[in-house]
Symmetry: C2
Subunit: 326 residues, 2 copies
Amino acid sequence: MSLLKKKIISEVKNDLADIEEAVKNNLNPYFDLVSDIASHILFAGGKRLRPLLMILSAKICGNTKKDSAAISSIFEYLHTASLLHDDLIDDASMRRGKPVAHSIWGNAAAVLTGDFLLARSLSIATKTGIPEVIEAIAEITEYMSQGEIFQLMNKQRLDLSEKEYMEIIKCKTAVLFRGACRTGALVAGASRDKKDALSLYGMNLGIAFQMADDLLDYTADSKLLGKKTGADIREGKLTLPVIYALNQADSKDRRFIETIIKNKDFNLSDFTNLQELLKKYKSLSYTKKIANDYVEKAKTSLDIFKPVKARETLLDIADYAMVRKT
Amino acid sequence: MSLLKKKIISEVKNDLADIEEAVKNNLNPYFDLVSDIASHILFAGGKRLRPLLMILSAKICGNTKKDSAAISSIFEYLHTASLLHDDLIDDASMRRGKPVAHSIWGNAAAVLTGDFLLARSLSIATKTGIPEVIEAIAEITEYMSQGEIFQLMNKQRLDLSEKEYMEIIKCKTAVLFRGACRTGALVAGASRDKKDALSLYGMNLGIAFQMADDLLDYTADSKLLGKKTGADIREGKLTLPVIYALNQADSKDRRFIETIIKNKDFNLSDFTNLQELLKKYKSLSYTKKIANDYVEKAKTSLDIFKPVKARETLLDIADYAMVRKT
């Protein structure tokens, strides 16, 4: 584990324990099957990053009430619902080092458990009695499903632009990060400035986080990652490293990349060649640079807050987005 | 078309036009694919019963504002989302006389369009600014997904009880009817008595409606129904006619019914034999009687309202639940 990760974990140890309890409690008292399926993925070593962002956002605005952990489980459930439906859509086989839910319980159970977690999120949001929180959750679910649909529509589209890619990752990932941070501010009853600053932090962090994720799909160690590398291109998902390479490549290299995109049964040596091309055309460093810019933007938006502990942790998390290995 | 259906349609002609417009408008301005898939099922001759119930419930409480149509589309979207996910789960082939969405666009698009319609419902609910409406929608989604999961868990379970069956149909169907009627009352700013009366009407009507649906699966004309009869038992879904017959049958007949439940590749003559057994053990008339009792309960709960036109239509709709052929 990196030093930064160790530092963050020691700073949020108690919050993580509260989140763990809330994620468990808010599932009760539901049917065993729901709990089994939801738990399979909910308790498989997820980072709890989204609920954590909510709690830290509440703290940076002066809220220290423990009950924000209960609300924060919304963001883990929304994330998990989306993973359950995504894995089915992508026909993935592994997630967090375990077989995906639909391969164990079938498509039906995976779809319905996702629906259930979405419904639970909504119920918990409703119980806050804060209209803006409910609006934030409605907005998140709408953007996320649109982002996923947009991504699906654009699979294997060789001329997907960087702008379209940005739109997809904002919808499918960053809006949830933004909503988590914004909800923290709302729960704390923060001023408009602070709400906006945290929304901006969340949005930019989410963008950077997804870009780092897309990089890891080409650079990570499969064992650490808990799933195969190269999954994106196998599913026809064009991410920034490939989009950039396609734009930079000479016609021969471009044709090779296009062949891989069109043929999901490419072999390991094809994938290694693709990785070499991404290096040759500086796609990985380009993606990293753009992601780093978003990390910096995220950090800058926290300037308006006093240097409290939660601020330091949020800054650390922003840095961590780019150094993480999983 | 039956006389009763003609009468109802002439009474609600304008409301149906308003609903049609709202269902269309609330889909804009979204990606073409979403609209295509959603429209495939949304505009395939659905009865718009759920939005209609909401509008009539608002009217019976004195609300005549046209904007309740916009809110009513929530209930068509929730219903459609559930159909999209159900058809995928049941691996159905036909719905409303057309191939199901997932067979045309694939599982992924069907799952995501369902998610999108759920999210849209939530957004529209949020925009009403009425906390009780939002709570009602949250409750509906939670119950519906639980009902579906409970149904899935109990597929092919030979000892499913009548009580468990009731629990499933309440969750998966009746709660949505209840929520639509209750929302009508809420939009109209009705008194607690009226809200409760309409909730009760919706719940009991929903139960009767689902029972009639379950009967149609054994008695309808496939062409009129727009899908194959016998679908429930082929999917391992035990409904009241079969549950009752299993309890009444002698051991030989019982073994035959059990064999059909366990073997989804039964042939037409097996299915005809099953239909004969359901008649022999008076399962169909028993189910019809129970459903009729719920229709009567639904109608009685409208006693507290003045004899306005909306009340007459709601009473007609309750009667229609049992005479419909599709």
